[in-house]
Amino acid sequence: MNDGSATGGESSGSAVQCYIVPDRNPNSEMPWEFFLGNAAHRLIAYMYKVNHPGNQVFYNTKTIGFILSETGLGDTSRLLPDERKICPDITDVFSRCLFEIKPWNEQGLHEGREEARTYLIALNRALLVGRPFTGGTDFQGEILIRFARGQYIWRLEWRTNEPGVVQYRWTRSQQRFESEAAAYEAGQWVELTEQEMRQYGGWVAQAVEGLVSRRERLAGFSGAVGIVIEVIGTAATGFFSGAIFGQMGSGSGAQQPPPAQGGGQIIPFPARPPPSVPPAQVPAAAGISLPR
């Protein structure tokens, strides 16, 4: 089942908005590669909540010990010491299911399967009330992101490939498109190269934050709700770091990043939105402002 019942299942691209990626917060203290992964995790949590508004759900900052204590469903003394601190990515208490989120490859599937199994064993051993927990199913969707007019459209796709394991992958449109709707209709996606991920990856998190504030329009693509989870993955985070520092050390190349600002790095976007872009098309995007 598609997990988009809360979104109406529209397929028209007519409501698609432009998402032009703004600059990263220059005062950011978080290295952008972490920012990227964290933003992705937060997005999946948010989207799960959007799709399951009536459920009691815990996300990956909550330990199994905490979940059992808060819900009163289990006895934490039945958990092994290490098990009290483990945090499933999504634990839906009354649906009695959990999800672990991993990259869309064999290693991700293997790791996700093992982690989900570990969590289920611990939860079900401590459970005192009701049905056992099982691996969650049927959670899938996609997100499209446009960086600037006339660029490739990026696509983030996720699916529950086996119970309890959600896997994600990242592709881009084969051609340059003016809009996400056009790319979506063309439906031709290709794998991203490492160079592209390195070049654009830092901007993805910015776009993700902007997209979150417009979930109703995101849903307009396919009726599925998209999530982005560790878009590049843990292994690639290292790659990103290495690539950035290598780039800085080499002192060459047109894409050399500006000096570090509070530990963070900004990867310049080679094709900024042209000045003629109407202000009305600039979204909240990364600037989900907190009114004060």
Binding site: E29, R42, Y46, G54, N55, T71, G72, S95, R96, E209
Partner: protein, 267 residues
């Protein structure tokens, strides 16, 4: 008497800062609470309270906290404090500790709000009445802030926050939708505080269609949708199980539907 009651809204300083900062401070506070609880069964009042400027935004749910580097009020991080508290006590009697912590800090504006919008089990009629009454006692100061709860860029008024988080209680226990939110909460709390088992049963049955709409992948939808079946199942619950659903909290009712669906599949 309430702890630190003030006409303006004040929150503990450990709830203000960037996410990493609040994470660290709440963890420390939880350990301190654990030490004190171990000593004499009480909790320390926060060392420092800060006044929330009128119109300041308080992040009240973790999933909408997207700007984690930005210093702000992070009320939802009370959960991190509690995790640290349980850990400090080696996870012994964590449910008793949980309840004691709530009873103590429900007498503060920030505690009252946190426990109303992020309730621990049981979300019973009795417990919910206490939580709503606590929020109502601090209504004026709590009104001075704005809250992020449902969407990351839409700060809610207190009334809107209570609708977003506790509409189930108002719908079940004060169906008069045209009344002001505060009035509805007062009525709901009053009814819940005095609720008999039959009152709860009626409230649950009123709310079952809402729970049913949220429950996915039920294999026996026709049977489960029948109010006679629901009533029969509810009346056979043991007292503890009935208490859990007695407030008609949507999430608990969804859980019951899944339970019954599972049981039907076993036969």
């Amino acid at each position: 008497m309430t702890l630190g009651q003030s006409s303006s809204l004040q929150l503990p300083s450990f709830l203000y800062g960037s996410y990493p900062s609040v994470h660290q401070k709440t963890q420390r506070e939880g350990l301190w609470c654990g030490e004190k609880y171990r000593e004499d069964g009480s909790f320390p009042t926060p060392r420092q309270m800060l006044e929330v400027t009128s119109g300041d935004v308080v992040v009240a749910h973790e999933v909408v906290d997207f700007q984690r580097e930005r210093p702000t009020w992070r009320l939802y991080m009370v959960s991190n404090l509690k995790n640290s508290l349980y850990e400090a006590l080696d996870w012994q009697n964590s449910i008793t500790v949980r309840d004691a912590y709530e009873a103590f800090f429900r007498e503060t504006a920030w505690g009252a709000l946190h426990f109303a919008i992020s309730p621990s089990a049981p979300v019973s009629a009795e417990c919910t009445a206490l939580r709503l009454q606590a929020v109502l006692r601090f209504w004026e100061p709590l009104q001075s802030a704005r809250y992020l709860f449902s969407t990351p860029n839409d700060a809610l008024t207190l009334e809107e926050l209570m609708v977003a988080s506790c509409d189930w209680a108002m719908d079940a226990w004060c169906p008069a939708r045209n009344a002001p939110v505060r009035t509805r909460l007062e009525t709901a709390a009053e009814h819940m505080a005095q609720a008999t088992q039959e009152d709860s049963l009626e409230a649950i049955l009123r709310q079952m269609p809402r729970a049913f709409a949220h429950a996915r992948d039920l294999k026996h939808r026709e049977v489960l949708a029948d109010p006679a079946f629901q009533r029969q199942r509810l009346t056979t619950l043991d007292p503890l199980a009935f208490e859990r659903v007695s407030g008609a909290y949507t999430a608990e009712l969804i859980g019951k539907l899944y339970d019954w669906d599972y049981e039907l599949g076993m036969h």
